[in-house]
């Protein structure tokens, strides 16, 4: 065998790896390495000094500070006494979760499924009691609660409005092409720009809409000084930007539904609602679930809007977990910033994986 043919044979055998190598190398450099480096930092204290920086091992101290120490109020909220409604909610949630676990163990037990559900159980239990001890007991939220508010309420609103608009535009109505372009524009604006636009619009004393606010009797109302008004306004801005994403994805989903199915249902005497619920919705459900999953993952990372619109205020009322990590990083407290980022990663992964496995895949399995 000549050297050339040996080389060709080697190339043939390894061509797949060779083509993949650049991509894998880039992923290692830009994704895996930062992930490992930040994991190391999460267990360390970093000090910048002459000649570089000093890193010393801190064990679980960064996590301990966030979850149980002086920063607990910031991340999880302020815990004092749990109110009666808080106890009721907490006990109900605990009972429901225990029933859910027992039902699983009794029906179809696998170790893999059990461990996954145990993690979901622990997360849901922790979050339930966190809400019981803060929101339902009159204590301030931490950044985890605020972030979940952005995710659940924000994504919910965006999904409903985006899907409704997509469904409307998927019908044969006049001007639908025009509206498709208009609805898509906000998504192309940078979040920082959106933040400044909405901050100006909400300024009741000297903003461009100050006269409008005065006219409707809100000239003396400061949305940024009230925790819930500020959170809601951030959701309004976030929704304005992200509804187009839901819209464009769901529009594609609605347009992919075969029209002959709807026509057949119509011939069979199905109403428009029956046609939608029995034919269109099951068809678009997997896409809708994916859209929500992508949107939720993005929403967990919200940082630009609260940073620009309120700087996380009033107090820490609008601060998300990502923004908290950013503020820690900005103060060069890299250990705390990494610990917060990993806590967020854990929460995001558990919630998103649980949602997909236990809600979406379960429904898809049921439909089959």
């Amino acid at each position: 065998m000549s050297r050339n043919s040996a080389l060709n044979e080697w190339l043939d055998k390894n061509m797949g790896r060779i083509f993949l190598a650049p991509a894998v190398t880039l992923i290692l450099i830009f994704s895996i390495f930062p992930l490992i480096a930040s994991l190391i930092l999460a267990f360390a204290r970093v000090r910048f000094t002459g000649g570089g920086f000093k890193v010393r091992f801190a064990g679980w101290r960064n996590f301990d500070k966030q979850l149980f120490g002086s920063e607990q109020f910031h991340l999880l909220g302020t815990f004092t006494e749990i109110s009666v409604p808080g106890w009721l909610f907490g006990l109900l949630a605990t009972g429901g979760l225990v029933w859910w676990m027992v039902r699983y163990v009794r029906s179809r037990f696998t170790w893999f499924g059990f461990i996954g559900r145990l993690i979901t159980f622990a997360m849901a239990l922790g979050l339930s009691w966190m809400f019981a001890a803060t929101l339902l007991s009159g204590n301030p939220f931490g950044t985890v609660g605020t972030t979940l508010f952005y995710v659940i309420v924000g994504c919910g609103i965006q999904f409903v409005i985006g899907t409704a608009l997509a469904f409307a535009c998927s019908q044969t109505i006049r001007g639908s092409t025009y509206f498709r372009v208009i609805f898509f524009v906000p998504m192309m604006i940078t979040p920082i720009g959106v933040g400044y636009i909405f901050r100006m619009m909400a300024d009741t004393t000297k903003g461009p809409f100050a006269n409008v606010w005065q006219w409707v009797g809100l000239g003396e109302f400061a949305w940024a000084a009230d925790p819930w008004a500020a959170r809601v306004f951030i959701i309004v801005a976030d929704s304005w930007q992200w509804i187009p994403f839901v819209f464009i994805m769901m529009l594609a989903a609605f347009e992919s539904v075969p029209r002959d199915l709807g026509e057949a249902a119509e011939i069979d005497g199905a109403s428009r609602w029956q046609s939608f619920w029995e034919i269109t919705w099951p068809h678009v459900l997997p896409i809708a679930a994916t859209v929500m999953l992508i949107r939720a993952i993005e929403a967990f990372k919200i940082v630009d809007l609260p940073n620009i619109m309120t700087s996380g205020g009033p107090g820490i009322a609008t601060e998300s977990v990502s923004l908290q990590a950013y503020y820690a990083w900005r103060a060069l407290d890299l250990g705390q910033a990494s610990a917060i980022a990993y806590i967020l990663l854990f929460i995001t992964v558990v919630i998103c994986v649980s949602f997909f496995n236990l809600v979406v895949l379960a429904r898809v399995r049921n439909q089959r």
Partner: protein
């Protein structure tokens, strides 16, 4: 068409040759040298560095490049760049108090040899506080002052005069005056205006304002007493009745402020002040020069006085407030203890130790050029620059101010308030220890914001601040911090 294009190109080339500074104009000693400067976003502070940089390039050939980052990220960028040896920044322009950490890490060039060889800087014309405190660490000069900072109380002289009121001397009087003028139309636009404007936004400048309020209650025995720690143990002096009252007073001023004051930073309140919408306001020296700029509605209608004081001061042993007497308040005037707070200390410039020697020489020469009276005496009279007076020739001579547009009376009033603060024996120093930004920006600021937003009580806020400050002190090393803190308080006027 081609002929027209060629003609235009030739004309443009000719113009560029005429307009470009020639070798004859520059001495060329720094030809090819680039000095990279990092500071806050312009035009405030950065804008004038760019302008003076262009002049310096014409004179010496050195190119001055100014990069800008948000205020909240400025110190960290400089620290990270200098510590890791990235060398993308030769000069940092920031608060002098932050620089102690950089000097402690061996990252800043000692400027003593440069100053010794500089016959133009006229160091003795710089006010003693800035010369001996702002520019120095452990007796050596590491920083060049570009701006002198004190917070002062500004008041609408026309509004107070019409109401028969005097400028407040204490914070209780401040609230009283604010309540009496709140709701008046102060700029003639038919709308009700505000009795008080003090920035309260989180992640902005509110933590400076609260220190200004607290200083008069915490410190009474002179600058060396300090307002933050026991110098021997570094135990925080924050969880006590003095700081508690300061927090409560600061929050109470919001009753007479704009409805969205909790989301207003210094830019917002200055806009309102210059627009004639505020009766009383707290600010650095900028309101004076800004009041004479085009569009201002308060030209010759604004007065300045030393920050309000207190008739009660902290008894450190008990943590309680006690009435001022000759023993507890040796510097009191008419029973009122004043402690003007040197908030931020002023924008100062430091040169990276890691830069090339030629770059360091060019950088120092440029900073000296900006600091020299010929330039700075003009710069401080222009509100948009963000520079406030720090030289005796700026503080004692009103001619430059009158030339800039002040009336003689306004200039004398404005400079008088700064002199009263600057020369006060009980002036309160800002943080000048490693971790200064963490003590304030990371711990004090969010706790204050939470209290202002009603999330926590003042007692909880002060407990949290005490705990947070203890953690930072332990992190940096208690003994080291104590030594530097004591040193930082040792210099008085």
């Amino acid at each position: 068409m081609l002929k027209r294009f060629l003609g235009g190109t030739a004309a443009a080339l000719a113009a560029s040759v005429i307009l470009t500074p020639t070798g004859a104009a520059a001495d060329g000693k720094y030809d090819g040298v680039v000095v990279n400067i990092l500071t806050r976003p312009g035009p405030v502070i950065a804008g004038r560095i760019v302008d003076r940089g262009a002049e310096f390039t014409e004179m010496t050939g050195a190119e001055i490049r100014v990069a800008e980052v948000p205020f909240a990220e400025l110190f960290q960028k400089i620290l990270a760049d200098w510590a890791t040896g990235t060398r993308s920044i030769d000069v940092g322009v920031f608060a002098s108090g932050w620089g102690v950490e950089l000097v402690n890490g061996g990252l800043v060039e000692n400027l003593d040899p440069y100053i010794a060889a500089d016959d133009k800087i006229d160091l003795m014309d710089i006010a003693p506080y800035f010369r001996d405190f702002n520019q120095k660490v452990s007796g050596s000069t590491y920083f060049i002052t570009l701006d002198g900072d004190f917070q002062m109380l500004y008041y609408r002289s026309d509004v107070l005069e019409a109401a028969g009121l005097e400028p407040p001397k204490t914070w209780e009087e401040y609230l009283d005056v604010a309540s009496k003028i709140h709701g008046q139309d102060m700029n003639g636009d038919g709308e009700a205006d505000y009795g008080s404007c003090i920035f309260k936004k989180r992640n902005a400048q509110s933590y400076f304002a609260i220190q200004s309020v607290a200083a008069g209650m915490v410190q009474s025995r002179g600058t060396s007493e300090g307002i933050y720690f026991d110098p021997e143990t570094m135990a925080p002096k924050v969880n006590n009745d003095a700081w508690k009252k300061a927090f409560e007073l600061y929050k109470a001023t919001g009753q007479y402020g704009p409805p969205d004051e909790l989301n207003q930073d210094i830019g917002d309140t200055r806009g309102l002040a210059i627009g004639g919408r505020c009766g009383l306001m707290i600010d650095w020296g900028d309101i004076g020069p800004l009041s004479i700029e085009e569009g201002s509605k308060i030209k010759d209608k604004v007065g300045a006085v030393i920050m309000p004081g207190s008739t009660e001061v902290l008894d450190v042993a008990t943590g309680k407030l006690v009435a001022c007497d000759a023993d507890s308040c040796p510097h009191a005037v008419d029973g009122v203890n004043y402690a003007p707070f040197a908030a931020f200390g002023g924008w100062t410039a430091a040169v990276s130790k890691a830069s090339d020697d030629t770059v360091k020489a060019a950088a120092y020469e440029f900073l000296s050029y900006m600091n020299q009276a010929a330039q700075s005496n003009v710069d401080v009279t222009m509100g948009w620059t963000g520079y406030n007076p720090y030289r005796n020739s700026q503080l004692n001579d009103t001619s430059a101010w009158v030339a800039a547009g002040f009336s003689e009376a306004s200039a004398e009033n404005y400079l008088g308030a700064i002199r009263d603060s600057l020369n006060h024996p009980n002036m309160a120093s800002d943080f000048r220890i490693p971790g200064a930004q963490q003590y304030t920006g990371v711990v004090l600021d969010p706790e204050l914001a939470r209290y202002l937003a009603g999330e926590i009580s003042v007692d909880q806020a002060l407990e949290n601040i005490e705990e947070g400050w203890e953690e930072i002190t332990d992190d940096f090393g208690r003994d080291d911090q104590a030594a530097i803190y004591s040193l930082s308080l040792g210099i008085t006027n």
